[in-house]
Amino acid sequence: MADEKRTLSPMDRVWNFFISVKLAIVTLIVLAATSILGTIIEQNQPPEKYHKIYEDWAFALMDRINLFDMYHSVWFLLMLVLFTVNLSCCTIDRFPKMLKVVRNPRTKLDENLEKTLSLADRWKKKGTLPEWAGKYGEALSASFAKPKVTEVDGQVHLYAETGVASRFGVYVTHLSIIIIFIGAILGNVLGFKGYVNITEGESVTKVPVRGGILMQDLGFTVRCNAFSLETYPSGQPKAYKSDLSVIDGGRETVRKTIVVNDPLQYKGIWFYQSSYGQAGGATARVMAARKDGTHEDMLSLAPNEPVPIDGYGIVRGVNYDQNFQGNGPALQVVVEKPGQPAASFWLFQGRADLDRQRADSMIFSFGGLSSKMFTGLQVAKDPGVNIVWLGCTLMVIGLIMAFFLSHQRVWVRLAQGADGRVEVVLAGSANRNRLAFEKRFEKLQTGVKAAGQ
């Protein structure tokens, strides 16, 4: 061993380092251990929050080693790179060897092989070699797998195998991890994630991404037509929905009501219902109609905000009462006309007829308060996601191959004995789940022995 080590070139040493399973185990455990940090230290919070928790020196140190965004830090990514390189090297090193073994199975049960197999049975039969080789071959085909027949030195060897795929499970699993990483990298490089609030009736064409540092152009417009909230009797939200329209090239191309767990997708960009809230204060809806019937205006009065009406004056909503003088909801407005003192009066909701009694060229009717809601949307584009799903599927297939399949091999050797009888050896082995194979082998033993009787 010592001599071997001395003759190794530096390249070989590097290679040996990367193909070692010990490195894999160490990397797995170190990844697991360091990952804990990011769950104890809340990630990606504003600096002020960290300053409240940590001393200045601790903050500076933690910030320096990226502990506040550790899963995207250089050192964590380097560990993932090491992990991937290790995984790839192990596969490159072992896969061809495995392929060679599988392609050229040991079809002959020679004595060396026989010694290594714990499951074996020997017996003698009267008759000829070809006769028994045929019978046992049929028996194997019927209860195990079609055997390969090799004749050498006057001996006949039968070799049958099942579950070869079991040998490849580990490679499929390792490959799946690399595919998932490729998908994740693609998503990070070519995709984006953002969050945007859209008030009912309004639209956006851009969304802030990377914590608002950049504005991502969508390439189309998204409008929130309406938002609705359904609650349980307790007041807890049960479902919230946004009626969204996509406007592309000047016309509405898609309209969909989204809820949590049911997003909208357009041109590879996904819109997820994420949150909601009230957009600003409430506004009063007031219809202003000229008495002569020539013109009508729907006014939206924010508290104390003056709203001008052409050729008339300025209107302000100044006060609201849910039950003014016992007559139901009412809005107090102030009207200022040029050159006249300001007039203040109350408008009762849905009672336009009452305002008609006021001597004025304009009749106001109060339609009630409206409070607009905004919908909070998570916006994401991830071109790598399907590659990630491909990797996930492969991983499950690989694990099933590795754990639930077993490469079972059975040999039969027939030789002409000195006493004129045929000497038979039956032997088998399995790479997984040996207990189950033992049972199968026992059955095979009785089945094969009984063949041709």
């Binding site: 807890q236 949590v260 767990n261 994401a380 996930c392 499950v396």
Partner: protein, 275 residues
């Protein structure tokens, strides 16, 4: 009614655990039979309770801490009974049944009313994701029981103080084999659980992986068991080392399941679980 049913099963698991403990000390066959019978009745009632609750609530009732703890106990007993049926390892009951009792009794002290479902949980992925993971966890719980038993027996063997009882208990090799079997079933289940969670997250949150504490802790658990599997398959970690890692892995599962929700802030905290 169903809440009472879910809480009452704790009693069956308690008496079942006691019967198994009696069995391990006396090797009285009848105790093991009684233990199994009690666990079987308990788990059937428990299952019936969950089915009833499903119809009352209108969703898979594994959303509150009460329901989660209760379902954990249910899954553990199911998996244990399946293992017993397959490998006839009755002594394992003395280590696994108390665990099921611990989960169900802690559930029994929590308020068990049916709650309104949070919008994010209203998805077909809820039952798939949660049931896969809970059964995976239950398989690892059995591995944990076998590992504890392994270490205890190994200590007894080393000090040569072992009584006659231990001679009639399963060999260390059999326990080690159980550990391996659990890994081969639990690991794919854990993997599937994480993957289905990712698919769900992609639909609900717009991101299949957000480094949320629950996600990270499930990854930590996955990495630990992956390390254990590689150690076992290639470097030859068997017996003691494998047992210790199975215990560490299960602690990580417990933290992923309970610690994250109770101690760390994150996306998976939908309800005030402690209440």
């Amino acid at each position: 009614m169903h809440t009472v049913l879910l809480k009452v099963t704790a009693l069956f698991y308690l008496v079942g655990a006691l019967a198994y403990l009696h069995f391990i000390f006396t090797l009285n066959e009848r105790s093991a039979k009684v233990g199994r019978m009690l666990l079987l009745i308990g788990v059937l009632l428990h299952g019936a309770g969950f089915v009833a609750r499903y119809f009352v609530a209108g969703y898979t009732p594994i959303t509150s801490l009460f329901e989660s703890l209760s379902f954990s106990a249910f899954a553990i007993v199911c998996v244990f009974l399946a293992f017993e049926l397959r490998y006839h390892l009755r002594v394992l009951g003395a280590f696994v049944a108390p665990l099921a009792f611990a989960f169900s009794v802690s559930a029994a002290f929590l308020p068990g009313e049916v709650r309104a479902l949070a919008p994010a949980l209203n998805s077909y992925w809820l039952p798939v994701h949660v049931i896969l993971l809970f059964f995976g966890n239950a398989v690892f719980a059995v591995a944990f029981g076998a590992a504890i038993m392994y270490l205890l027996m190994e200590k007894e063997l080393k000090t040569k103080k072992m009584g006659a009882i231990f001679k009639r208990l399963p060999s260390l090799d059999v326990l080690d084999d159980i550990n391996y079997r659990c890994m081969t079933i639990g690991f794919p289940l854990l993997t599937l659980g994480i993957i289905t969670g990712s698919i769900w997250a992609e639909y609900a949150w717009g991101s299949y992986w957000s480094w949320d504490p629950k996600e990270v802790w499930s990854l930590i658990t996955w990495l630990l068991y992956a390390a254990l599997l590689h150690g076992r398959m290639t470097v030859g970690w068997r017996g003691r080392k494998a047992a210790i890692l199975a215990i560490v892995g299960f602690c990580s599962i417990l933290f992923t399941f309970l610690g994250v929700n109770l101690l760390l802030p994150g996306l998976h905290t939908y309800t005030n679980l402690s209440g």
